[in-house]
Each structure stands twice: as structure tokens, then as C-alpha cells.
């Protein structure tokens, strides 16, 4: 294990140190006193685990392919942008536009997230991204979603757990929301239904990993019902244009 003190370190220098450590074959890296450094773990490959103490800056784990990053506090915006594989675990809250265009790997967030989380996620038969949010989410959750799995748990309270325009423009993938979903808040392209046995299996599998990461009990999380959101048409705008 190697510790890197990030205090007062400019992001370029910090990220260079991280990359060098990974190249040396380091399997565990702890970044201490991080505050605001951008782009940590960007484009990083391999089987390394990075623990971050402090609040990392925007664009963490963009294009990341393999590593596991654990953030012990809150995190900012644009995490997991177009991420390919690997995992980011956030023990606190996180900001806007998480997992934009993500194609694989996992984002596990214990707290709340901001606006436009999980937008345009994509998946295919081989791989699919997963984002699980323990708290609440802002508007445009799962906008343009084309594939993968989004789960919103709302574990911490009884207020509304999701914002407006949920899944607007969705044309693939699945969203699970723990509790009830107001159809008014959903995009026009979204159908709300009860999960079936197979769905629950998928959910249980995803959540076991999430719970393990964040020290939660699976039974507690599964104790409440879920709603499943899927697109009602793969071509929601087929009639929009005149030919």
C-alpha cells in the first residue's frame, strides 16, 4: 500500500503520482488530504484500488477502465463520465451529471446525488453500467437512458426521492426506484410497472454488492417495494419528422 499526501498538490502532479504508482504495480493507493483536485483516476486502467480522503474534484473516474475508487466523503460533479469498467464507491453525497454515457462498471453512492445522473447510459449483451444511489436524486435522472441499470433507494427519509423528468427520453435499460413513482414526474417515454421475479433477482444481485460496499443490510434495503421503469418504445420520436 502507498499513501500519497495530496495537500496543496495541483491535480496534474497528483494524478501523475497516482499513475506512476499504478505503473509500478501498486495495488492499493490511499490519497490523503484531497480537496478539489480534478480528474482523479481518469482513463486509468488495471486492477488497483484507490481510497480518497477528502473531497475530490470534478470529473473523477472519467473513461476509467478497471480500478476501484472509494471516496470517504462527499464528491463533486461529473463522476464516471463515459466510464468503461471498474467501480466508484462514494460514502457521502455526490453532485450532478454522474455516469454520463457510462458503458460499464459501477457507481455506488451512499448519499444523495444531483441533477442529470445516469444520463445516456448504454449497455449491450456483453456489459452494462450500474449506478446505485442510496439517497435522493435531482431532475432528469436517467435521461436518454439507452441501457444499463439505475437504482434509486431513498434510504434516508420520506420526502420525494426523485426529481422531475425521470427517465425522459429513455429508450433502453431499466430503472428501479424504491417506493412509489409519480407518473407525472416521468418522461413521456417511460412506463412504470411492478418488478417480476427475474427483475428482483437482478436487483438483489446488484444490491448485495452495493450493501457489501457500504456496510448496509440487504434485507433492510429490500424491505420496501420497488417500481420498475422501462421505455415504452424503442423509437419514441418515430412520428416526429415528415419525410
Amino acid at each position: 500500500m502507498v499513501k500519497i499526501d495530496a495537500k496543496g498538490t495541483y491535480y496534474r502532479d497528483l494524478n501523475r503520482k497516482v499513475r506512476e504508482a499504478v505503473e509500478k504495480g501498486e495495488k492499493e493507493i490511499v490519497l490523503e488530504n484531497v480537496n478539489g483536485q480534478y480528474y482523479i483516476g481518469d482513463g486509468l486502467r488495471g486492477n488497483v484500488s484507490i481510497t480518497i480522503e477528502g473531497v475530490p474534484g470534478n470529473d473523477l473516474a472519467a473513461f476509467m477502465d478497471g480500478p476501484t475508487v472509494r471516496i470517504k466523503s462527499n464528491a463533486q460533479d461529473n463522476i464516471g463520465n463515459t466510464m468503461n469498467s471498474g467501480k466508484v464507491v462514494i460514502e457521502g453525497h455526490a453532485g450532478d451529471v454522474l455516469g454520463y454515457g457510462m458503458r460499464g462498471g459501477k457507481l455506488h453512492i451512499r448519499g444523495n446525488v444531483g441533477y442529470r445522473v445516469g444520463i445516456h447510459m448504454k449497455g449491450d449483451k456483453k456489459q452494462g453500467p450500474t449506478i446505485i444511489v442510496g439517497g435522493t436524486a435531482g431532475d432528469f435522472f436517467g435521461e436518454y437512458m439507452a441501457g444499463g441499470l439505475l437504482v434509486l433507494l431513498g434510504l434516508d427519509g420520506d420526502g420525494p426521492i426523485v426529481g422531475d423528468y425521470l427517465g425522459t427520453g429513455m429508450h433502453g435499460g431499466t430503472i428501479f426506484v424504491r417506493g412509489e413513482v409519480d407518473k407525472e414526474m416521468c418522461g413521456a417515454e417511460v412506463g412504470v410497472m411492478e418488478p417480476d421475479e427475474d427483475d428482483l433477482k437482478v436487483l438483489r444481485e446488484a444490491l448485495s454488492d452495493y450493501c457489501a460496499d457500504l456496510g448496509l443490510k440487504l434485507e433492510d434495503v429490500m424491505s420496501k417495494g420497488f417500481k420498475k421503469l422501462v421505455p415504452v418504445s424503442a423509437r419514441p420520436y418515430g412520428n416526429l419528422y415528415a419525410y
Binding site: F140, E143, Y165, T168, G169, Y237, L240, A242
Partner: protein, 502 residues
Amino acid sequence: MFRSLAPPEYLATIDRVKCIRCKRCIQNCGWGVYSWGGDKILIDTFKCVKCLRCYHYCPEEAIEIKDNPTRFKQNAYWGYHNIRNIKRQAETGGIPLTGMGSDLPYTILFDNLLIDACQVTNPSIDPLREPMELRTYLGKKPSSVKIEKGKDGKLKLAEPAPPQIKLEVPIIFSPMSYGSISLNAQKVLATAAKECGIVMNTGEGGLHEDLIPYRKNIIVQVASGRFGVNPEYLNAGVAVEIKIGQGAKPGIGGHLPGEKIPLEVAKTRMIPVGTDALSPAPQHDIYSIEDLRQLIYAIKEATDYKPVSVKIAAVHNVAAIASGIVRAGADIVYLDGFRGGTGAAPSIIRDHLGIPIEHALAAVDDRLRQEGIRNEASIIAAGGIRSSADAAKAIALGADAVAIGTAALITMGCTTCGKCYTGNCSWGITTQRPELTARLDPEVYAERLINLIHAWTHELKEILGALGINSIESLRGNRERLRGVGLDSFTLDILGVKPAGR
């Protein structure tokens, strides 16, 4: 002896091999071009106006309507229309009439304006998935509002707000009276207006009882003829419009001949069958601006203060006139540019009087702002809005909404042949002949008009999205997002628009 020294404009031709003598063309042509000769269809091509009804209804595609190759010699100065009108005048001594808006090649400013789009420094917005608001309210806006906290902690108005007309899209249908168009055509407009959350306008022909179910989507018009006007009528719609003038014929009255006043039209206009319905050139109770004020307030009193719109033609001094109208208490100023359509107008008037809507709109919006009264009235721009792009440009120049007439009629089959004044419209639009109006099934054609409004709605949202704004009020008057191409600096100055590249 020749029939006319003006050769026919079009040649209606039938491929005799293809023709199966089904006679549908005879039935369909409102102008009586075709007749049955015992063994074949006879053609009187002088009467053809190229409305293309026969063409669409010929099951064998045997019909072709050609521009007559035997025309006057081309002359860059003596245009076809000049020579033709002289010949017609020589034959009749009359004023050549015409329908629709002017088709002469004056500069079209809309086509010299281009709209901005976002790149990098601000993001465009995705209109299909994110909120994009086109809702528009027409009416007087206070310059400020008083809002207080209620006992429940929620905000509430301290003083009531002036009445408004709510539009889901900043597009309305321009006034077209029953008489100038058929009841079925009005029903198409009403049905589409209701479905799209916008409004149609009765024009000055009164309100037929069949339209009463659509009253929440109707503006009733009061014009110089005062046809069909009574307190019930005034209260029948969401607003009342006083028509002063029309872009296609500013300063000119109307004349709907007695032959075109069958029972239903007469009833609606509240005049006897068969009399001429005359709309005087001026409103005879308005000889000055203070008279207009009186009429406006009389109508407000009679309607418990519904919004009042005043429609004027765009003329040279339009800015000052509009300012007077606003100060006289109008809630809406409807500006009709010189390209605006008409059911019937002398072509000499239509083609030579007034100014384009682009100039008029820019001047009026500027003037009202200079005087600090822009909020006192909404502006509707009309007179040649051909597409959602024209609409967007008009709104950016300062309009609250645009009105469309011709574009709506085109969805009903109109080809802008311009012969509306004959009352023979083969498409059943500008006619009262029952066999012709019956063709225009309101339900079927409303669908097409609704499609048009929906399509323009989508296009407007795309434009806003590209501009990076999600609400139409941020485009309204936002001339910073327009640029002129090929316009001289005077014109740019009037439009308040920078040249492209600046």
C-alpha cells in the same frame, strides 16, 4: 373574334389515352373548366386557376396543368402581371381583384435574417427530453406585481392581474370570416385551435352557432361592418378584436356580394339573405385615436373587461399608431404586414400599399420600449408567416405571437392560386357553394392543421434548444440572437439587428 387578349395562364390538359371518362374532374373543378361532350371531357382552359383539385382527384393521373407556354414576351420591366392587368382592364374597365397575399418579388426580410445557435460558451438544450416552454399569454402585463405571503405561508397576489389569453404555442389563426371562408373551414380552425390550446378568430362575419362549443378558443372580431355584433357575441369568446385594417388592403373596406350571402351566412352576420355585406373603409365611430379609446372601453364594459385587441395594417407610421393604440387601452396590438392574405382585394392595393411586417414589428416594439409601455400590450405579428422559422424570427424581433392564415389554408388543400374572391374554391375553403364546402370534412382536415401546429411546435422547440434557452419569453425581443445577411445598414438599424459576422 378572340375571347380575351390575355391568353390563359394555364393549360389544363387530359391524356386522352389514360382518361377513363369517369368525370371526376367535372365534379371537382369549382371553376367549371371541364364539361361533358358526349364522348369526352371538354376543357375550357381560360377558366383554370391551377388549384390542382382535378389533378389530385383524377384516378388515372391523366391530368396535367401546365403554365401556358404561349405567354407574353418576357420583359424585365413590363412584368406578366402588368400586361395581363392592362388587358383585363381594357376589356372590363374594372379593378382587377385578387386573393391571398402579394406575390411580387419585394425583398423578403425574413429570408435575410438568420438565427443564432450555441457553441461551447453556453450549452444548447435538448428539446425532446428537457423542458421547453412555448406557453404564451396575450394581454396587458403590469409593470410590476405585488405579491404577499398568505396565512398558509404560500405566495398570493395582492392585486388581481389583468385578464390574459393563454396560448400553448405562440401561434394563432388569423381572422377569416364566415362568408369569406366556409363554415367548414372555420370549423377546421376551431377544432385545431382547441386541440392545440391556441385561438382562432371569427373575422368580421359573426359567430355561427356551431362554433359555440369552441368559444374558449375564439376571439370575436368587431369591424366596420359590425356584422353579427351584439353583447352575446362580444362575450362569446376569450377576447374581442377591433379591426381597423388588414395588411393586404390597408384603408380599404370589404364587399361580400349578395350572391355569396346564403341563409347561413346571413344569419350569422345578422343581415338579410342576398344583400351585399359591406364593410366600410373606416369604422365610422373611429375618426381619431380618442374615439378608438372609447370603443375599446365600451367593449371592455360590455364584456366585463375581456382583453381587447386592435388589428391594424402595417403602414408607414405604424410605430406612432401602435403607441396610440396602446395608450388608448388596447391589450393586444395585431400588426398585419403587407404580405398578409385576403379573400378579395384590388391587386393594385394589395401589391403597393403598406410595409412588410418585419419593419413594422421592429419599429413598433422599439417605440413601445422607448416609451416604456411595451408591457402594456402584447404584439401579434402577421402577414406572411410561412414557417416556424419566420415565427421564431418575428418573435425575436419583438412579437409575442404570430398569426397564420394562408399557412392554415394550405393544410386544407389551398395552393395559393389566389382566386378566393371568385367564391369557386375547389377545395371548399373560400366558397359558400354547398357542393364545394361539403368536400372540406372538418374532422379530416382539422387533423392536418393540428399536425402542422404540432410540427411547428417541435421546430420552435428545436430552435430554442439550439439557442440554449428553454422558454419562449427569452427569445421574445431578443434581437441579439438574430443576424442580418445582405442587409444595408439602414435596414439593420430599423430591425435593431447586427450584420452576420458582428
